[in-house]
Symmetry: C2
Subunit: 280 residues, 2 copies
């Protein structure tokens, strides 16, 4: 279907978007809908079995475009840091088994009682230095995801694409890249410049879509919008990403209980439709 206007060649469904689906339902649903890629999460993959999940997706003819997620690198306590590094090595192994070259990183927030964002970001760099070669040896690239600033204290002190690139650029481009997720970055007037910077440096590891809708729910985790329901200009983003020469997958990752309460196939058809009309 490559090159056909309105095709789904680059579309990937992140499994959290339709988390009511089991992995076999996900594989079958994507094949039926003509969606060639899936983004996976560690917990459901581990529950199903990593090898078995890899076989399932491969036999369905689908591509695993990313694995979510490694990260949480900001602990100060040495035992906690060692545990985080070990867990990230396991995540890298899982990514390799699944055949994806991209491990998404949610880098971690401020440790309890700490107010030092700068030091937290340096601890992320330290962890990347330990993990990046290990990942590269297994054909996996670490992808730093800047999260919306509203997550800075409890999830990720990397809040902008510029910060993510500042970190990534300390390492070889084939080892550490960045994620452009519209939900996190749509508000930033420097994002176009930073997308260009990411593309020029070969750092663009993943492109994810969700819409920004309000009011935000308590805890602000599960309030992402279906494409077209909110404030994001998806075509604007896609054109800027493509202008860098990026031809990789475009992954739809929406966390919203309203989508989880619906029929999965219906949600995926809606995603594909919005993708065709709003993204391409």
């Amino acid at each position: 279907m490559t090159g056909v206007n309105g095709d789904l060649t680059r579309l990937s469904l992140n499994q959290e978007t339709i988390k009511q689906w089991s992995l076999p339902e996900l594989a079958e649903g994507c094949v039926k809908a003509g969606v060639p890629g899936v983004g996976l999460w560690r917990a459901p993959v581990q529950e199903y079995g990593v090898e078995a999940a890899a076989r399932l997706i491969r036999h369905a003819g689908l591509t695993v475009t990313s694995l979510c997620r490694g990260g949480f690198f900001t602990a100060i306590d040495p035992a906690e840091r060692a545990a985080a590094l070990a867990d990230n090595r396991a995540a890298i192994d899982e990514a390799a088994t699944l055949g994806t070259d991209t491990l998404i990183l949610v880098s971690g927030g401020l440790p309890p009682g700490s107010r030092d964002l700068f030091a937290a970001r340096e601890r992320i760099a330290d962890a990347l230095a330990e993990l990046a070669p290990y990942a590269a040896d297994r054909g996996v690239r670490l992808a730093i995801e800047p999260l919306h600033p509203m997550y800075a204290s409890d999830r990720c002190v990397v809040s902008t694409l510029a910060q993510a690139l500042d970190l990534a650029e300390r390492f070889p481009a084939e080892q550490v890249g960045v994620v452009v997720d519209t939900y996190h970055l749509w508000w930033d007037d420097t994002v176009s410049t930073q997308i260009t910077r990411a593309g020029a440096g070969g750092r663009l590891a993943s492109f994810q879509l969700a819409d920004w809708i309000t009011p935000l729910p308590e805890g602000v985790l599960l309030g992402r919008g279906q494409l077209g329901e909110g404030s994001v200009d998806f075509r604007w983003f896609r054109e800027r990403v493509d202008a860098t020469g990026f031809t990789g997958p475009i992954e739809v990752e929406i966390f919203n209980p309203a989508l989880w309460a619906r029929d999965g196939a219906e949600v995926l058809a809606e995603v594909a439709d919005r993708y065709r009309t709003l993204v391409l």
Copy 2:
């Protein structure tokens, strides 16, 4: 008390922090606590009567450090825009009557159906061009407040201090300044540079404090923390602001129902205590 370590000379209480207080209670409470400044809001001032409020605060010997708020400049509809400009002229008149030189602006979010942040920011500039001379004639400076990016769609498309300065710098410094509010800006690794820029240009119109705490409540409006309860390093901010030569008021503005449920004098004593130990 000027110059005495631990003094409250620069402290201002934004009235929303203790909104359970009437204006007379606010005036009396601040005098008793030795807090010399108050930040006021239009609605309670209008309810009390603008002239009467001005007299009350003046007779108490207090300074009105700011009036909240003008703004909401992003409407496209000509009638809505005209109404917003008229309302802002009224806000400027009220600020002048109250004897404050600072009108805080919450610039406005995206109009319904719009996804164009750039155009919205240009409409803010257009409104500033109309209002700034009117305000200057009345001794009032417009103070653009960058709001946290989580408010970009529905309250304020100006999300960073850099954006606020980009807008302000199109106008004379004595007409348009910016607000540094720790709640909105604490996460930004460019904020120190931008505070320096603001100070160098004479743009620093207001310095406000609230702490960042999680989980955020539904709607994310009323989840600000008492100083010391969250992630903000207040001394770091105050030192950077002071390093620019700023000697103006330091206003505590916290929106939190837990504070509103308590005895106002107790809350103010706590604010003053936290101010002494965490800010000075």
